[in-house]
Each structure stands twice: as C-alpha cells, then as structure tokens.
Amino acid sequence: MQQILGIDVLTFLVIAPALAALIVLLMPGSKVIVRWTALGLATVIGAICVAVFFNYDRTQEGYQMVVNVPWFSLLGSHWHVGIDGVSAAMVLLTGILTPLAVLISWEIDERVNMHLALILFFETGLIGVFVALDLMIFFLFYELSLVPMYFIINQWGGPNRKYASTKFFIYSMGGSLGMLLATQLIGWSMSAVPGDLVQSAQAAMPALANFTVGSPSFDIQTITALWPHFAGSGGTFLGVGMETVKALAFLGFFVAFCIKVPVWPFHTWLPDAHSEAPTAGSMLLAGVMLKLGAYGFLRLVIPFFPDVWIADINILGVIQTNWAGIFAFLAMLGIVLGAFAAFGQNDIKRLVAYSSVNHMGFVAMGLAVAALAYAQNWSNATTEHMQSAIIATNGAVMQMFNHGLSSAAMFLLAGAIYHKTHTRDMTQYGGLWVKAPIYGSIFIFTSMASLGLPGLNGFVSEFLVVRGSWPVFTGLMVISMIGLLFTGGYILKGIRAVLHGPFNMHWKDYNLEIELREVVAIAPLMALMLITGVVPNWILPVINDSVMRILGG
C-alpha cells in the first residue's frame, strides 16, 4: 500500500479529491449523471482512506507512508507527508464523511456541478492538513479548506447566508493571520538554533540528519525536536529574545486553533455558519473541519511550546495558573455554556451547532491535560499525570472521531426535516413521530449518541476525558458536569420539540418520512456509532499507541 497509479498513496489522497472536483466541475451531462459520478469518485477516495487506515501498522514507531521531497527549497519547506494513528483516524473520518455528504447534496438542485466539486475540493484541504508533516504544507491546506466552505455557505446557504459566510471567513482569516506569522517566526528562527544543540539532538535522533545548522526549516518533526530547547541560554532571533518569539508564536497558533475548534469564547461564528450552511456543508464543517483545530493543538501547539504551556501566569495577583490551566478553564466554559446555549435555542440547526461547542469542549479539556503533562514531562523529565494524560488524550481524539460521526448525523437529520418543512423553528414541529416513525427512531438513536449514552460512541470518549481530567483539573471537571447535565437537557428538548406532543396538523399533507437516500447516508454513521460504543478497541489502540508516542509516556 505504498503507491497508487505510480504516485505514493498519501500524495494521491491529497490530489485525488481535487482532480475529482475538476472532473465533476467540467463534466457535461444531466444532473443525475453528475451526482452519481461525484458519489462514485468520493466513494473510491473514501475506500482508499479506509485502506490507508487499516494498512497503518500501530506497532511501528514513527510516521508511516512517508514522502519527503524538497518543495520550496528557498524556504526549506518540503513536501513531507505521513501519518500516525491520530492522523489515520482523522483521514478515515474524512474519507467516510465525504461520500455521505455528497449523497446528501443530491438534494441541491442549482449549480450541481459546482456544489459537488466544492465538496470534493474541500476534502483535499482536509486530508492535506491531516497528512502534512511540514508547517508550510499544513498552513497551505489549512487555508485552502476555508475557500470551498466559504462558497458552499455563501452560495447554497439559508436566508442569512451572506452574514454567516462572511463572519465565518473573516473570523477564520483573523486567526490565520496570527498563525501565518507564527509559522514564519518558527520556521525562520530555526536558522538561529545553535549548532551544539543540533548536534546533540542529531546524535539522539537520526531523523534529524537532514537538517543543516543555520538554515530555516518547517519540518514538524525537526521543530518538535529542536525548537522547544532553543530558549533558555539567551537565544535570540532577529534581536528579539526567544521568550518573546515563543509567546508570540504560541498566541498565533493558540488563537487560530481556538477559533477553529471552537473554544469558548471564540465560537460565535459557529452557530451562524452551521445553521446557514446547506446540510452537506454543516455535516463536513462540524464533522471534520472543527477537528483541524484540535488536530493542530495536538500536532503543533502541544509539542512546540512545552515551556510556554506551563510558564506561571499571575492573573490580577490572585490566581496563579498557566496556559494549560487557562485552556482547561475555557474548555470547561465551552462545555457548560455551550450546553446552556444549546438548551436556549429554538432553531434546530442552531441547537445542533451549539452542541458542537459543548462536545468540542471535551476535546479541548483532554488536550489541556495532554499539554500540561507533556510540558511537565518535557521540562522535569517526569510528571505524575502521564497515565491520566494518555487516557485524556485518547478520549480527546476519540471524541474528535465520535463527534464527527454524531454531529454529521445530527445535521443530516436536521437538514432532512428542514428540507421537507422549510422551517428550522422547532416550535413549528411537534408530534412528527406519528407521521415519520422511521425518521423519529433514527433521530432518537442519533440524539442518544450525541448525548453520550453508554453503549454508543460518545460515551466512551467522554468517559475517557472525564477520567483523564479528574485528577488534573478536579474542580473544573465538577463544574463541567453541569454541562453534561444540560447536554441531556437540550437533547431531550430537541426530541420533545420534533417528535413528542400532539401532531401539528399543519403538516398533515406533507411527506415527512425520511427518504431512502437519507437512510443510506446515515446508516453507516449509525453502524459506526454502535460499533464504536460496543467495541471501541477497533480504533482506540491505533490512537492510543500514537498518543503514547506523542506524549512520550
């Protein structure tokens, strides 16, 4: 499983969706043919993603299916791609969700070619980020994914789409600016890393042999190994102390990824973007795009800035904390306030959108534990929290995967009912279970997965995060439970508003039952939710082994 059509597999996976998008965009023929073609192409790509996941060997150290060739040698940037267990899981998620999103977009009737092409092109951006091992490549795809999603919302969205898409774009671009700066700072300051540091690192790690002292590098592995050490002995870059450089770079990444995850209070673009986007857009946005931020934390921010994460911060002379503590605090706010906000909605898509803030809060919480333990281990060579951190990080990555499944499914269902009733106002529904028994049962199943019912996927990851965070952020975890309680609140509110109560006779002559096409699209997600809930070990060891290597436990 190294090459496809003579191109190595990961590069192929990055290019293929874009080529597929081009084919779909330019192909003549009726809408039906275009739709089937797009679905076929997305399915083939999805199948390759699945194959990549199952060909990944978790027992083996380091990245796999690696390609590393010079790309922009002036910058020292390489076309360096490869996967570990975390990226394998994310590639799998992307590969699964894209064809389902394509299938759901069949309901779009205007400019079909363009719409489907944008979805496929979006996949290129996503996979590109997950396989990138070079900071420039990472940034490039991270930005690339923004463009198609902007157009999807802006062109095929709901009534308030212009505001939503602009907000989404500006918000994300605002984050990206800092990230671009941070990327440049890191990459160029690599050229100032002193030679003795490099030599000692090269002795310990043969993979660094390619790096020459005094040249810039954007290689993520190289930066991870060298850059954090480049500080204490008065290191400077462009005459600025490395402490300042690090703080700036950290903030750049931190804010960019917080917006993407989204971590409270950087989340207000999300309810608008999610609720205005067409169904397929919401599915991919919530299902995969939010994970870019969390993935960025795990792949870049945690390993690059161990000293920054645990540097003491004094707030108003009262609270003694550090960035890991602040991050955990924001995660807690996301869990609690996200749940409350969702509970306060009457628009079904906004409710589901806010549920993402709530669920991604658990991801952020797990990452905060990881950041703390990694940093302690890095600076003191020991931490009492390593086992907890591994469990919490396993939970965070699992939650990324699980939230991808359940939020996509929830948006699919919200879209399905919206498409038939043309309203998102839940107070207009009521008692629909009578007319849509299959839809109702699927809705309850998916809602329960989202609620974190034991036996389904969400519980496994939430439990791992709670377990992992408990000894580290005990007080925050206790408060977070209010959020978990209100997760129940908003889920039951949704079920109540859509399905329960007397049937609203306004819909008497509407066909509300879920369509076969929609059932086909949601069935794989439901199956995965159940399987992951019952046998989490089909995927967890892959994540677990890589998490252990990342955290060095």
């Binding site: 003579g6 191109i7 190595d8 590069t11 874009a18 998008a21 060739v69 790309w71 922009f72 076309w79 363009m114 463009v147 157009f151 907000k167 918000y171 989340h267 207000t268 306030l337 409350f340 906000a341 509970f343 306060g344 806010y354 086992q387 907890s388 591994i390 009578v434 007319k435 028994p437 049962s441 329960m448 034991p454 036996g455 519980f459 496994v460 439990f463 709670v466 377990r467 408990w470 000894p471 005990t474 007080g475 975890m477 439970m481 978990l484 309680l485 209100f486 129940g488 609140g489 039951l492 109540r496 329960h500 109560g501 007397p502 049937f503 006779m505 994540i543 677990n544 082994d545 436990g553």
Partner: protein, 791 residues
C-alpha cells in the same frame, strides 16, 4: 471461541444472559416492525392514548407483525430466563461461591500501556439477582401480551421492553462498574421512552423528560465517582476493588482529592450513592417516580420492581465494601457514605409513606410505597444490614411486580366497565359510534387527557385509576382481588406467612442490635422504619378497602372485569405465579433461632444469609443478628396495628358513593400537604427548572453570545470599516488631488478587467478552482514527485 464454548464453559455462559432480549430488540426494531397506514380516527389506532386526528393516515402495527413481534420478544426473554437458570445451577454447584466465582473478561479499551477489561461475573449476589430478574421480566412480558394487545405501536413497545430487560441483565452480570453503568443508562433511556410511550399526551412526555433529567442529575455525579474510583485504583473491576483488602484499605486511608476531611473511599462512595438516590428515587430526587406512572402499566412494573429502581439498590449493595471501608457499622462507627444512606433511606421511607397515605390514584399509592420500601433498603445498608437489604430487594421485587400488574388489571377492568357503560348509553341515544367506541379495549392510564382540538370526546372524562370510583371489585374480579390481597399483605409485612414480613423483620432485627448498644444512627433507622412500616400497613389496607371492599361506587366499577380469552389469561397467569413468590420467597431467609419457623425452614443456618455473605471478604461479612423478641414484636405490632386501623376505617364501614375519605377530616390541614406531595414539584419548578430555562435563553445565548461576544466583534468590524472610510476620504482629497494622471491608467485597467468580472459567481469559482489546481500541480511538479513516481 465458538458458540459451543459459550454454552459449555460455565465461565463464559454468563455472557449469553442478556443476549436474548438484546437480540430481540434489534430483530423487532429492524425486521418485524411492520405497519400499515390507517385513518387516525379508526378503531385500529385511536383510543385514549392515541388522539383521533381527523383525516390523517397513521401507521399501526399489522396483525402478522404483532404475532411475530410477540414471538420474538417472548423468545428473547425465555432464552434469558433459561440461560439464567443454567448459570444459577452452575453457581449453586460451587461450594462457598464468592471465594471462587464464575466469570470471564476481555480487553475492551486501550488506556496507555494497560487495557480496560470488560467482563461478566457470577457471585452470590449476581446469583440471587439472576433468580429474580429474568423471572420477573418473563412475567411482565407475558402480562404485556394481553395489556398491549390492541395498541397501535405494540411492536415498539416490545422492542423497548426487550432492550430494557437486556440492559438490566447486562447490569446484573457485569463484572465492573463501567459495564454496570452502561446497563444503568440504557435502562434510563428505555424508561424515558416507555414513560413517554404515549408521547402525544403532555403528561406523558413531561413525565418522561422529568424522569430522564432527574436521574441524570444523579448520573453525572455518579460518573465522577466512577472516574475517581478508576483514577485512584486503575481498575473498575468489582473483584479487584471490593474483594481486595489492600485496595479498600488504601482508599480508606487516602484523603479525598477535594472536600478534605473525608477519605477517597468516602467521597467516591458519596458520589456513587447520589447516583442511586436518583435511580432508586430517594429524597430529594424522588420526584420523577410517581410521574413515571404515565407509562403503560407493565412498564411501571418493570421500572418499580424488576429493573430500574432495583438497579439502584443493587449497585450500592454491590459497591458496599467501598462504603464500609474504614468504618465498622456493627460497632456504631459509620463512614460518611453509610451515614448518608442511613439518614436518606430512613427519612425517605417515612416521608414517602406519609404521601402514600393521601393518594387516591391506585398506581400512585404503589409508586410512593416503592419509594418508601427502597428507603428501607437504603437505610438497612446504611447501618450495615447488608444481607437484610439484599433480601428485601428480592422479596420486594416479587410483591411489587405483583401489585403493579394487579393494579393494571384493576385499571383494565375499570376501562372495560367504562366501555360497557358507554355502550349502553349509546344504545339509548343511538349516537355516533365511531367517535366513542374507541374505548374498546383501549386503556387509559391517565386522567388529564391532552388531546388535540379535533377529536371528539365524552366529557367529563372518567378516571379509571381513581380509587374513589372503585369499590366492590372483589365480586367481578376475584383472581385479581386475591392476588392483590396477597401482594398487599406481603408489602404490609403480615406476620409469618408473607415474604415481606421476613425481609422487613430482618432489617429491624439488625437495627435493633445497634439500638441495644445505644448507637444513634441505628436508633434513627429503627424508629423511623417502624413508623413507616405502620403507615405502610395502613395505606395498604386503605387501598385494598377502597378498591375491592364494600359496594361499587360507580356504574363502571359495577361492570369492571377482565373479560374472557387471551387478554384475561395472559394478564392473570403472571399474577398467580408472582403471588406464589410473594408468599414463599420469604422462607429462604428465616433465621434458625426463630421459634417454630426456624427449625422448619432453617434447621441449621439461614440459607439466604449463608449463601449471600460470601459475596464479601471474610472480615467484612456481617454478624448474624441474635434472636430478640423486641424487633419481632415490633414487626408484629406495626404490621398488624396498621392493618387493623386500616380495617377499622375502610373495611368495617366501607366508603359509599360520594362519601368523603375520612382521612380528610382526620388529617385536617395536613391532608392537602400530603396530597400535594409536600409541594416539591412546585418548588423544583420555581427553583431549578424555570431559572435554568431563563439562564440559557436570556443570559447565555442572547446576552453573552449575541450581545457581548458578537457585539465586540461587530465593533471591531465597524472600526475597520470606519478606518477604511477615512482612508478613502483621505484618498479622494489628497491623492486624487495630487496625482490626476494615475486614475486614467486605473480606469483603463478597470475596463480591461471588467471583462473578466462577468459578475457570475460560477466563473469566479471556476477561476478559483482552476487557480488552486494549478498551484497544486505546480508544486507537485516542482517537488519532483512525478519524476520520482515515473522513476
């Protein structure tokens, strides 16, 4: 491993216990759930629980689908019952089961270098549950065949109770707290869906949400307890924690991570007990359970007897060594979790009993009696009466399942009577039959109907659950009467011949040992439970008197009966079987030193006590309470006294139609307080429900998100716009004024560029896509990838 191994290896067999019902759930949900569309107003759909929407076609289960569904559901539970029997016989063949156990586990979840294992465990506690649970479930399934025979969504009902049974069995055979929690929560889901089964009724879906939310309050705290326990010990396996002195000792010695002053074991214990307070409906989280009566009656039996509430008590019996760690309840030294249980349990027992006295709804009386009886068990555990609690759990499950199903039969009979009355009324008026004949075999488990405007109804609506409408039912429903009487007497603890007596007596006997040493908590438990037992006997007699004795107080009661045929048969058979257990289940736990009965039923040792105690480590096994006349006479006194007072009030001079309940006058101002359940619902609504709704809507989503965060963003955007406008102004005045020549070029360029700008978004997109692809291609080529690939 193939299936053969699972059957032949006694260690693997427990895996199969929950499989039958779980499989039945999937089969029914996916395959046999066939419906056809019928007009909502027709007999096939509409009854008191399904509104007759005019002109709407709705799905109703087809007859073949009904038959297949019943077959599948019943097969599942019978399989579970047979496998359980086989597991039980394997377990009983082991000498001193508990020192060695049956079980098996597999790696389930990777956690760093180690793995979390899931498995099954059969020790004495599991064994007694495996005797009770599948049997009670089977009875409930049989009963449901008749009870739900005409419901339009009967398949869904069987699917859900199958899942319910499967979850309960999973919980029982679990070898670790996480799997127990899985079963626990799935049961929570099933009870939510079943309480809200007739989801069109406002009362039903509100009750469902209330049940789920109230128990979830407790569950999230329990989840913390589980996480904490797992973090402290690195495992959640029952045997590794609870049958391991070192671990227990360490937990008892370590101070808690927060709330210093108690041990880790203490804090974990409190978290877990709060979970049970929710699940087993103890004060102050009891409010959901009476409302749960909205579900079909078999569900009430399932929730109140066989499964859900028992699960709560089972969980704390299971985790008991953790609560006891660091204390010696038999020497008056209670740890904080034990103290919590003693206080909450005994208070709840009395509190709920007082409410039950003033209820007129036949099922609500039973609901509050359940809360009260669970309080007995909780209190017993608090003072270390481990075995007595387990014993009462089992006997209570039998007689309470019996009582619920008997009350369901009463309701069914009353509806039958109601139907009869209306048939006659219609005969006289020659009214439109279609509208009203829907009462045919339908049930109405609730009074305040919530129908959509359009369906016609006879008003005022008759309440078949109100005991004031009953009276004299013994004449038309003799089997129901006798079985109800047996269940009632067992609940009241009628001395010597009922199961309830033996288990309750054992709790009091255990408490008395502490009282005789002067321990405070034991005194509290003893006296509160004694008063509660007195009230229990009284309200039981009141219920029996109001329902069955005297003369019928309404026409409906006069004609109440179960009819003939399959409905009657499937509903009566379980009553008779359970009545048998409501009497004889008590004789397995007779203390040997009890006069006359001891030598007959327990010549050497108390068999139940002797069997169950090996669940615990030898040093934790509770001492046998010595025989003492005081608790025994107390048991006699409170049971017979309560029954006698009830007899005097409600049997000697039965209520006649229209007569007021003597209790109203007797209790005076207290009566409305009890009748309204101490106004707890109103309180919670004001203090928790409304404020949280306002908080989430007004504060979080409108104020914080829209006003503050978005407000800030919009402000930033505006500042940028202003800056831009300002620059533009500057541009016009300054630069345009200076360089007049430049704009001309710009204009020319613009004219050229306008051709590209066709204003059609597709072309923009096309350009963007092409450009992006070009970039991609360039960098593929420049990186030499293609070259490399070719090479």
């Amino acid at each position: 491993m193939n299936l053969n191994d699972f059957v032949s290896d006694p260690n693997l067999l427990p895996w199969l216990v929950p499989v039958g019902p779980l499989l039945a759930f999937f089969v029914i949900a996916l395959l046999t759930n066939r419906s056809r569309l019928v007009p909502a107003a027709s007999h096939d759909y509409s009854d008191h629980n399904h509104p007759a929407y005019k002109g709407l076609m709705v799905p109703a289960v087809t007859v073949p689908s009904r038959i297949v569904t019943i077959t599948v559901g019943l097969s599942g539970v019978i399989a579970a019952w047979l496998i359980s029997l086989s597991v039980v016989s394997n377990a009983l063949s082991i000498e001193k089961l508990g020192k060695t156990v049956l079980g098996n586990s597999v790696d389930w979840m990777a956690t760093g270098a180690t793995s979390f294992t899931m498995g099954v465990l059969v020790d004495p506690l599991t064994t007694i549950m495996l005797i009770m649970v599948p049997l009670a479930c089977l009875m409930i399934f049989i009963y449901s065949i008749g009870y739900m025979a005409h419901d339009a969504r009967q398949s869904r009902f069987f699917a859900l109770i199958s899942l319910f049974a499967g979850a309960m069995l999973t919980l029982v055979v679990a070898d670790n707290l996480l799997l127990l929690f899985v079963g626990w929560e799935i049961m929570g889901l099933c009870s939510y869906l079943l309480i809200g089964f007739w989801y069109e009724k406002e009362s039903a879906y509100k009750a469902a949400i209330k049940a789920f939310t109230t128990t979830r309050v407790a569950d999230v705290i329990m989840l913390l307890g589980i996480a904490y326990l797992y973090a402290s010990t690195g495992t959640l396996s029952f045997r590794e924690i609870l049958y391991n002195e070192e671990v227990l000792h360490a937990l008892a010695e370590t101070p808690a991570i927060i709330f210093g002053g108690i041990s880790a074991a203490g804090l974990i214990g409190i978290f877990l007990i709060i979970g049970t307070i929710g699940k087993s409906a103890q004060f102050p989280l009891h409010v959901w359970l009476p409302d749960a009566m909205e579900g079909p009656t078999p569900v009430s039996a399932m929730i109140h007897a066989a499964a859900m509430v028992s699960a709560g008590i089972y969980a704390i019996i299971r985790m008991y060594p953790l609560f006891e760690a660091g204390g010696h309840p038999h020497e008056g030294d209670l740890t904080s979790p034990l103290m919590l249980m003693a206080v909450v349990g005994s208070f709840t027992a009395l509190f709920a009993a007082t409410i039950a006295v003033a209820q007129n709804d036949v099922k609500k009386v039973l609901a509050y009696s359940t809360i009260s009886q669970l309080g007995f068990m909780m209190a017993a555990l608090g003072i270390g009466a481990y075995i007595a609690a387990a014993f009462h759990l089992i006997t209570h499950a039998f007689f309470k399942a019996l009582l619920f199903m008997a009350s369901g039969a009463v309701i069914h009979g009353m509806e039958h009577g109601d139907h009869h009355v209306h048939e006659h009324a219609h005969h006289d008026h020659d009214d439109d039959h279609v509208e009203d004949a829907h009462a045919d075999h339908g049930h109405d488990d609730h009074h305040d109907d919530d129908h959509h405007g359009e369906d016609a109804h006879h008003a005022p609506h008759f309440d078949p659950q109100d005991m004031m409408n009953m009276g004299g039912l013994r004449k038309t429903m003799p089997v129901t009467f006798i079985t109800f009487l047996i269940g009632g007497l067992s609940l009241a603890g009628f001395p010597l011949i009922t199961a309830g007596f033996w288990s309750k007596d054992e709790i009091l006997a255990d408490a008395w040992v502490g009282v005789s040493h002067g321990y405070g908590p034991h005194m509290l438990v003893f006296f509160l439970l004694a008063i509660a037992a007195f009230l229990t006997a009284f309200y039981t007699m009141r219920q029996l008197g109001l329902t069955f004795w005297g003369e019928p107080r309404t026409e409906q009661a006069k004609h109440a009966n179960l009819g003939q045929g399959i409905v009657s048969a499937t509903m009566t058979l379980p009553l008779i079987i359970l009545a048998f257990f409501a009497i004889f289940a008590g004789f397995v736990g007779v203390p040997p030193s009890f006069p006359i009965f001891g030598p007959i039923f327990a010549p050497e040792v108390n068999p139940f006590f002797e069997f169950v105690k090996y669940t615990l480590l030898p040093e934790m096994q509770p001492p046998k309470p010595p025989f003492n006349w005081i608790p025994v006479l107390t048991s006699f006194g409170v049971a017979l006294g309560g029954l006698y007072v009830g007899y005097l009030v409600y049997w000697r001079k039965p209520l006649t139609a229209g007569q007021e309940d003597p209790l109203v006058k007797f209790l005076g101002g207290v009566y409305p307080v009890l009748k309204n359940k101490y106004y707890m619902d109103e309180l919670y609504n004001r203090v928790f429900v409304r404020p949280s709704q306002v908080f989430s809507d007004v504060v979080v989503s409108q104020f914080i998100d829209r006003r503050i965060i978005d407000g800030l963003l919009h402000l930033i955007a505006r500042i940028f716009t202003w800056t831009g406008d300002f620059l533009k102004l500057l541009n016009t005045w300054l630069i345009d004024g200076v360089g007049d020549g430049i704009p001309e070029y710009v204009a020319q360029f613009g004219a050229w560029f306008r051709r590209v700008q066709t204003g059609r978004i597709q072309q923009y997109l096309l350009l963007v896509a092409v450009a992006a692809l070009l970039i991609l291609l360039v960098f593929a080529v420049s990186s030499g990838l293609l070259v490399q690939a070719a090479g």
